[in-house]
């Protein structure tokens, strides 16, 4: 082999070693840079997500770092490329040349080049992946987690409103029910709705108690209106009951075919003169007309009386049903409870009354026969749906007095035991408490006072256990033999801090 060829072989081998080392070193540096890049990008993405600027294009952005890492790795590897002299020494050692390669290079004497092998063996390099791969894997997992794991802390920290939609819906329905049952007028309903809107808009998750307190107050208002309406319904039913008696009497008189009795006439007259009568005649329509007709005819006409009775009965039934429906609506809106409703229906049953009662006191409560059980059902037109009157004392069993309401159940607001309320900055005024001796003196009771010094009475038997203080003798000081086991108690007594 000529010298030139040998030189070519050597140069080729040197280049091969350099290339292999460059590749391995660049691979190692790429893994290192990729690890760092993944951590930086993942951290940046976390910050962006927290600020709400995270974009889907993040994947593209992070992938753009790959060629950059490759380029940087190659640059770094090129800067750290091996020295040619050292590569030659490596080749000389690897091929057991005995220093000939080095000697030829250093002396320039090529006389021994023929001893160098025709093809030089080049050593192999390897990258220690065991040190790098775990870091790369961790960085990839980190970046995946940064993209996948939802960010909750930011949302929680935001000032968010309490979810009051369900509560609001209930209250709105209650207000609507009160409007439907004419408990409140539209203006009042509008005011209440506005108040509700204000409460909902002003709700704050940091201080939910204030919101719920306001809602409770609003609820209380609505229930109060409902209770008042129930009272009103009851009183109106009483009046209807009174009129029912009148209708019964008219019916009875018309059935007999004779003319109306004087008492009936008198009752009719009294009724027409009463406030309720006047209102009734004004508002009742056909029933009122029929009754007027009966009254004008002097109740002489049986037909007129019959007509009046019928019309009156129909009117009463209609009104009673209307009141009942209103009561049920209010109950369904959970403004009154079932017990109150049943009481209302039960107490509202019509009882038999006499004309005398009507004549003597048109406004008096008329006692009728007790209603049958199971009232409230949809029965026939005559006896069913008769609202009874309250027997006796006004207010006894009144609707809504002290009646509890069915709660709305658990709220949907998240429970929070850690956040501070609006009162958390309230500082308590330091106040010096009275010394214990004085306070105990204030609460103490003088049990006796002796004029002589207490005398010590010997104790015959030492009772086991604690010292018995409840001696019968009030004038003598209590004495007990103190045993070694009482030592701690005695020491505590004398070591106590007297005020």
């Amino acid at each position: 082999m000529t010298h030139r060829k040998q030189h070519g072989v050597i140069s080729q081998a040197v280049a091969e070693v350099q290339k292999r080392h460059l590749l391995c070193y660049a691979s190692a540096q790429f893994l290192k840079l990729l690890t760092g890049w993944n951590f930086i990008v993942g951290f940046l993405f976390l910050v962006l997500r927290q600020l709400g600027f995270a974009l889907v294009d993040f994947i593209g952005f992070s992938a753009a770092g790959l060629p950059v890492c490759i380029l940087l790795a190659v640059l770094i590897a090129y800067q750290r490329r091996l020295n040619e002299e050292k590569i030659l020494a490596l080749l000389d050692n690897h091929n057991h040349c005995g220093g000939l390669l080095l000697a030829e290079r250093e002396t320039g004497d090529e006389s021994w080049m023929n001893r160098v092998a025709e093809k030089l063996q080049t050593p192999d390099f390897k990258v220690n992946f065991s040190a790098r791969i775990p870091n790369v894997v961790i960085s990839v997992i980190f970046i995946i987690l940064c993209v996948v794991v939802p960010v909750y802390s930011g949302a929680v920290m935001k000032d968010q409103k309490i979810n009051l939609s369900e509560i609001k819906q209930n209250l709105v329905e209650q207000i609507d029910t009160l409007v439907e049952t004419d408990t409140i007028d539209a203006q009042k309903a509008e005011e209440l709705t506005k108040a509700l809107e204000q409460i909902v808009s002003g709700s704050d998750s940091n201080d939910p108690s204030r919101t719920f307190e306001a809602l409770d107050q609003l609820q209380e208002k609505l229930k109060k209106e409902a209770r008042q309406e129930a009272q009103k319904i009851l009183s109106e039913l009483e009046k209807l009951g009174q009129m029912n008696s009148l209708a019964e009497e008219l019916k009875k008189q018309s059935a007999s075919g004779s003319e109306a009795t004087e008492s009936l006439k008198e009752a009719l007259k009294k009724f027409a003169e009463s406030q309720e009568g006047k209102e009734f005649l004004k508002q009742s329509g056909k029933a009122g007309q029929a009754l007027e007709n009966a009254m004008q005819n002097g109740a002489d006409s049986a037909e007129a009386m019959q007509e009046a009775a019928q019309q009156l009965q129909e009117y009463l039934n209609k009104e009673t049903e209307k009141k009942e429906q209103a009561a049920r609506k209010i109950k369904n809106a959970r403004l009154i409870d079932q017990k109150t409703l049943e009481k209302l229906l039960k107490e509202g049953k019509l009882k038999k009354a006499t004309l005398k009662d009507i004549m003597n006191n048109p406004d008096a409560e008329v006692f009728v026969s007790p209603a049958s059980e199971g009232s409230g059902s949809e029965g026939d037109g005559e006896n069913s749906e008769n609202i009874g009157l309250m027997p006796g004392k006004n207010g006894e069993g009144s609707v809504g007095a002290g009646a509890g309401g069915v709660s709305q159940g658990g709220g949907s607001a998240p429970l929070n035991f850690n956040r501070l309320t609006s009162d958390h900055k309230v500082k308590f005024i330091d106040e010096a408490l009275p010394s214990p001796a004085e306070s105990s003196l204030e609460d103490s009771v003088v049990i006796g006072q002796g004029i002589t010094a207490p005398e010590l009475l010997p104790v015959d038997n030492v009772q086991p256990g604690s010292v018995q203080w409840n001696q019968q003798n009030n004038t003598a000081a209590e004495s007990e033999i103190i045993l070694p086991r009482h030592r701690n108690a005695v020491r505590k007594f004398f070591e106590r801090n007297n005020p």
Partner: protein, 351 residues
């Protein structure tokens, strides 16, 4: 190309190397069983170095040196070191003599050191004073007595022997003197086959007479070629790193060096390794020193130059184990491949 940098010619080296191999083969023929030892001794001779042989009595230390002297056609002297040996017994002394005219004068009578090969038998038996008498002779190859320096014959070698047992009443060689020996070689006992052959072919253990020998010119030619064996820079750097790594405070020091070495090797050790490596390259017929040549002589050249601490004695760590670890850990080329890049097992010629 500079003439001084010209490598030894192939023909010249081939002839000289062939002749050296013949001498070596003859030595192997005469003294059976230890070719590696004989090779190292020859390398030491070609490197003009002194050799310390350590072995049990009767293993053939004296016979080796005697045969060597015969093969190399060199003058040979033997001194049996004893505790009462005086420096003058080795170096020589001035003796009052009377000439023909009746005048008395002090005449220098040279001692046995004035030879080519001095066999210092059981050198550790002599007193330190007597041992140190050889210091100047070994290093300077001259002797100074009564203010007058007398050059020793050239070549001059000291081949000393010492007994590793029966150390009572002996004086270990000082480090300064140990450092002047090129090698410390262990002479082991022969194996069974060698013993059988010795018994059958050597009556009374007398080795046969060599058939060939080197002339003075030939030997001088060997020395001339040795001077021209080229030491590449990378190999010299390798030697320097190795010797430097024997110092516990060195950055290249291995764990064993840091834990067990009290004093590392001196620069004289690096020179010794370089010279001995040249001898190996000469015997291998190469005009330049390679990394493998250094590895071959490193242990023999340094095992008596590093001083271990007491901890090594307790832990059973020897100089040989320390040097073996050093050669295994220190790469020849000192390439900075980077933390993550390694050479494969095939790529590492030390495998």
């Amino acid at each position: 190309m500079n003439e001084t940098n010209k490598l030894v010619g192939q023909t010249e080296l081939s002839e000289a190397g062939g002749r050296a191999h013949k001498i070596l083969a003859e030595l192997n023929r005469i003294l059976l069983g230890r070719p590696e030892l004989h090779k190292m001794v020859m390398v030491g001779i070609f490197s003009k170095g002194h050799i310390l042989l350590e072995g049990l009595p009767g293993v053939g230390k004296t016979a080796l040196i005697k045969v060597l002297g015969q093969l190399l056609n060199l003058q040979f002297s033997r001194v049996q070191f004893t505790p009462d040996l005086m420096p003058g017994d080795i170096l020589g002394a001035h003796i009052l003599q009377q000439d023909e005219r009746g005048m008395r004068e002090m005449v220098f009578e040279p001692g046995p050191v004035f030879t080519n090969i001095l066999l210092a038998d059981e050198i550790n038996r002599a007193s330190p004073k007597t041992q140190s008498a050889l210091l100047e002779a070994m290093q300077e190859r001259s002797v100074t007595l009564m203010g007058k320096t007398r050059t020793l014959p050239s070549p001059f070698f000291v081949l000393a022997s010492q007994n590793p047992i029966e150390l009572e009443g002996t004086y270990p060689l000082p480090e300064a003197q140990l450092d002047r020996f090129l090698f410390k070689l262990e002479v082991k006992s022969a194996d069974v086959d060698t013993l059988r052959e010795i018994i059958t072919s050597r009556r009374h253990g007398e080795p046969p007479t060599p058939d060939i020998s080197l002339s003075a010119d030939e030997l001088e030619g060997f020395f001339a070629i040795m001077r021209r064996i080229y030491l590449p820079g990378a190999v010299a750097e390798y030697i320097a790193r190795l010797v430097n790594a024997t110092d516990p405070s060195s950055a290249n020091a291995t764990r064993l060096v840091k834990d067990y070495v009290q004093y590392g090797a001196s620069p004289r050790a690096a020179i010794a390794v370089a010279e001995a490596a040249r001898g190996i390259a000469f015997l291998a017929g190469r005009p330049s020193v390679g990394f493998e040549d250094v590895r071959e002589v490193f242990a023999a050249a340094l095992n008596h130059r590093i001083l271990l601490n007491y901890k090594a004695r307790f832990d059973g760590v020897t100089q040989a184990s320390v040097l073996a670890e050093l050669m295994a850990k220190l790469h020849e080329t000192d390439l900075d491949l980077g933390n993550e890049v390694q050479m494969t097992a095939d790529g590492d010629s030390r495998q």
